[in-house]
């Protein structure tokens, strides 16, 4: 397992660092190229959200297992403004970041499990897991 399992997101460069960490860990777990690219895209999107809307936050990555199942857990947390309308933020085609398939619904689709906890003016914690099939 990688020692450095977490990246603070402050500048745009940290998005790349978070992606690198995620890809290394995904490779280490044994994910194929396509799944590596998907996990990295999800991390990229989460890190970008922090960079754009919360200014400061953290991406943590953990290898996990359940029985014979191996997987990767991504935790994106920030002390930003929080999400006022979670229902709307999870709706397709309503991302401010623009473009098809982007935003949080995109992250949910790229991963297997997805959970969001958010309090307005306090921050947001998003937990997403990908299992190896």
């Amino acid at each position: 397992m990688n020692l450095r399992s977490s990246v603070d997101i402050i500048s745009e460069w940290d998005i790349v660092a978070a992606r690198q960490l995620g890809r290394n860990e995904a490779k280490d777990v044994g994910f194929g190229t396509v799944d590596q690219a998907r996990i990295t895209t999800a991390i990229s999107e989460l890190a970008r959200n922090i960079y754009l809307y919360a200014e400061k936050g953290n991406i943590e990555i953990k290898q996990i297992s359940e029985g014979n199942l191996k997987g990767l857990l991504v935790i994106a947390s920030d002390k930003g403004p929080g999400i006022a309308d979670v229902r709307k933020a999870m709706e397709d085609g309503y991302t401010t970041s623009g473009g098809l398939g982007a935003g949080l619904p995109g992250v949910k689709r790229l991963m297997d499990d997805f959970k969001i906890e958010t309090v307005v003016d306090e921050g947001t914690v998003i937990t997403a897991t990908k299992w190896m099939r």
Binding site: T33, T41, G101, A102, P105
Partner: protein
């Protein structure tokens, strides 16, 4: 799952690299259809392509394989957009079902029975542009009178349909088929004015046929004027009647007029969905509509309205832009 297609894809690729025939491309197209049906995303397709090529041409330089990894990275977002599409199709189908159910409910709620009379042949057709009808037709009937209301909410679809239910309950509160057109419009106008927001307007025509006098009395609230066909002179004229749209102000003075119907005469009531039909060359002329009607003037009223609808449907290339309602009262 993508692995089942790997073998098939590799075979096609192998053949195509050897000989670039149209047949091999056709096979590629067919496998593409299957891949999409099985929800294989585009980044997976690139990955299958890469793996196949690796097996066929294992001695290609390292750089080629790296190039595919970048392509996979780029394609991930296209895959996401496609998955979003599948969700949306599901949603769309649910909405479609809900709309169909709603259209059924509307039809049951607003159903009206075309009366059967000895001296008056009645034909009626009302076809919504979307699922729900924003045009409304309602008949009242007793032993000597037939009342007919034809109304159109400005707007289409669900909001218009909701408004329509209001007219129905207003009509139900009337005393009967004997009520004079100006009274009917006055009652409905007050209801609409009270219940509906300022931006919703309704146009309505009300006509009453009196069997004992063979007389047609009518009034209009900003509605499309009906056409009157005089059998004797073989000519059409418009039945004009001034009157404000329903729902604008509570007190409106409507005009009432009467004409006598002789054998072979008929009145054509309609909504603007009929007169504002558009072909590629622009609006269809009133003369064209009159010609179409005159063609079938000797058929029964129901055949007449159906013929006119199909003719106009054709003229506008099957693109119906507004709800379409046509009612014919023909003296026999």
């Amino acid at each position: 799952m993508p692995q089942e297609f790997k073998k098939q894809y590799k075979e096609i690729l192998e053949k195509y690299i050897l000989r670039q025939t149209e047949h091999n491309l056709y096979e590629g197209q067919n496998i593409s259809r299957q891949l999409i049906q099985k929800n294989i995303s585009p980044e997976e397709v690139i990955s299958i392509h890469k793996a196949s090529l690796e097996e066929i041409m294992s001695d290609l330089p390292e750089e080629v394989w790296h190039s595919f990894d970048l392509l996979i990275e780029v394609m991930v977002r296209y895959g996401l957009a496609l998955k979003e599409h599948q969700t949306l199709i599901q949603k769309q189908q649910n909405i479609k079902m809900e709309m169909e159910l709603a259209a059924n409910v509307q039809q049951t709620l607003l159903k009206t029975k075309v009366p059967n009379l000895v001296d008056l042949d009645i034909g009626m057709i009302s076809v919504p542009a979307k699922e729900m009808n924003g045009d409304y037709t309602h008949f009242l009937h007793d032993s000597t009178h037939v009342g007919i209301a034809v109304a159109d909410v400005i707007g289409k679809g669900i909001p218009a349909a909701l408004c329509m239910s209001m007219i129905k309950y207003g009509m139900d509160s009337l005393d009967g088929a004997e009520t004079n057109p100006v009274i009917v419009l006055d009652v409905i106008n007050r209801i609409v004015e009270k219940s509906v927001s300022d931006s919703m307007f309704i146009s309505m025509f009300y006509g009453k046929y009196d069997t004992s006098k063979s007389e047609f009395t009518y009034a209009s609230a900003g509605h499309e004027p009906p056409l009157f066909y005089c059998s004797e002179s073989s000519s059409f004229s418009e039945l004009q009647a001034k009157g404000l749209l329903l729902g604008v102000i509570p007190n409106v003075k409507y005009e009432q007029h009467s004409i006598a119907l002789k054998k072979g005469d008929f009145v054509v009531m309609m909504t603007d969905g009929v007169t504002e039909c558009r072909s590629k060359e622009g609006f269809i002329e009133q003369q064209t509509i009159m010609d179409i009607i005159e063609n079938v003037k000797d058929q029964c009223a129901q055949e007449m309205v159906e013929y006119v609808f199909h003719k106009l449907e054709e003229l506008q290339d099957f693109e119906q832009r507004d709800d379409f309602t046509l009612v014919i009262f023909k003296k026999v």
